[in-house]
């Protein structure tokens, strides 16, 4: 069973989703970070975005 504590011994490898400034700071500190060029899902259409969220991989028939 995974635990939060398992993270404590690892090198942090960050995926940054949102404000680019956060990734820039981490990068400047030598932290492994990859910035995601995030755009609002479904072109910002809230209904479709909601549907997309409910159709994530772990949901199913």
């Amino acid at each position: 069973m995974a635990e939060i504590r398992d993270l404590f011994g690892l090198e942090l490898r960050v995926v940054n989703v949102g404000l680019e400034s956060f990734a820039a700071v981490l990068d400047s500190l030598g932290v492994t970070v990859l910035h995601v060029q995030w755009v609002p899902p479904a072109g910002g259409d809230p209904e479709r975005a909601r549907r997309l969220a409910l159709l994530d991989d772990e949901d199913g028939t």
Binding site: I4, L12, E20, H35, V36
Partner: protein
Amino acid sequence: MIVRTLIKRSFYQDSVALMGVARELRGGAGIQEAAALMGTPANRELMEQAGLLTAEAAAAGPNDLVVVVRADSETAADRALARAESLLTERRRRVEAAGRRLPRTLDSARRQLDGANLALISVPGPFAAAEARKALHRGLHVMLFSDNVTLEDEVALKRLAVERGLLLMGPDCGTAYLNGVPLGFANAVPRGRVGLVAASGTGLQQVVSLLAAGGEGVSQAIGVGGRDMSEPVGAAMTLAALDALGGDPGTELVVVVGKPPAPTVRARVEARLRTLGKPVVVAMLGRDVIPGRDGSLHTVTSLEDAAAAALALLARREHRTHSFAGVEDAARRIAERRHALAAGQIAVHGLFAGGTLAYEALLILEPLLGAVGGNLGGSVASPHRILDLGADDLTRGRAHPMLDATLRAEEIARAGKDPDVAVLLVDVVLGHGAAADPAGDIAPALEAAQANARANGRRLAVVASVVGTSADPQGLGRQVARLESAGAWVLASNAQAARAAAGIAGGPRVTEALLGGAAR
């Protein structure tokens, strides 16, 4: 007067980046006003209010980037739009020149970044829960910086996180430290023995900065968001974090920073604290908190005391609270400033970038000065005012005060003109992600306000604290010096600054209450 528009179709940039662009454009020669926004309905309304909603801007869609400038001349407008174009495409060019292609989704990011273990999510609120859920499903820990996440979503997300043994820090988690890495708006502090669980960003920043000043450091600092200890959420993340810190050999002492938990939650949290097997300092700021020691639990009533208690416990010496670091010096300065006040100058006006710092100041001022007004809840008729400038309604359509001093400068000017105001109380927050020179950003306004007061036969006392460390990019020493050269009295902590303000405005009775009797 020329108004010109630049539209970049299907070109998304985040709100902070865009505000930076707008600020740059506004600084251009001949530019009266500039806006850089995504073409969402809400933003179009903002543009309309600012008189910048051109026909092209009105026709833009939510995925289109809109830049509008109002300028003195065609040339100035052209120059500004060209600058906008180059600023906007600069990042893309830089990345592409480096040969890397930025992924568009969390999943393609994970394919590129083997072993990704943390998602730092700061997308707009309505989309944040879905991104967080995706990340948890993929087995990533999550720092959820975004606010405007519903309580319902928070409950579901934390349940999922606990099920998976993952962190969900937030929502509205602005600061955290994991494995020595500062995340979000965070100060440069050493690695050390203190583990923290914090419901607040600036609260955490104050405590760790003071720990660093005392020569100690942070093992892990886990943000849990402001609603974690509410009844619906049931302290889910707090309890999980405490378990993790309890079992972490790198953590010798735990500090909990937040507000008092909901009654139903309190017992569970306290029970976990007691069985942690490590000393715990509890700084849950509220009106009826009684400080003291109960076994391994040490309850304090200020952020400063939390750090002081932690330092004392680790050094195995006794911890005593003080009103001020140098009591005699403080007494002298308070008296100086009080005597210089004109008749009628009775009020403290606090203008804060940090919400928790504002709240802490309120809790300190109330018992000393009586009712305090402002925007921290409940309208109260009082000359005293504490404003949290980072509150939702004040940050709509504008950058947070930690990044942009415009609103604070306006409020400082207003205070300078107000004959009731005796003391201006401010916080200056340093660290990664904060503005490059927060002290310098408000110094001119502070100087002008004091000059204005003097010109009208008054003396405006300016009292400040700087939350930060010498290792911060802004440099604690440099920032303190800048404020002092602008006429501010800078104290070592937010709590001390609030007490100093109370002493100046409240008169001898208050000062005696503060200084008579060192240990509380």
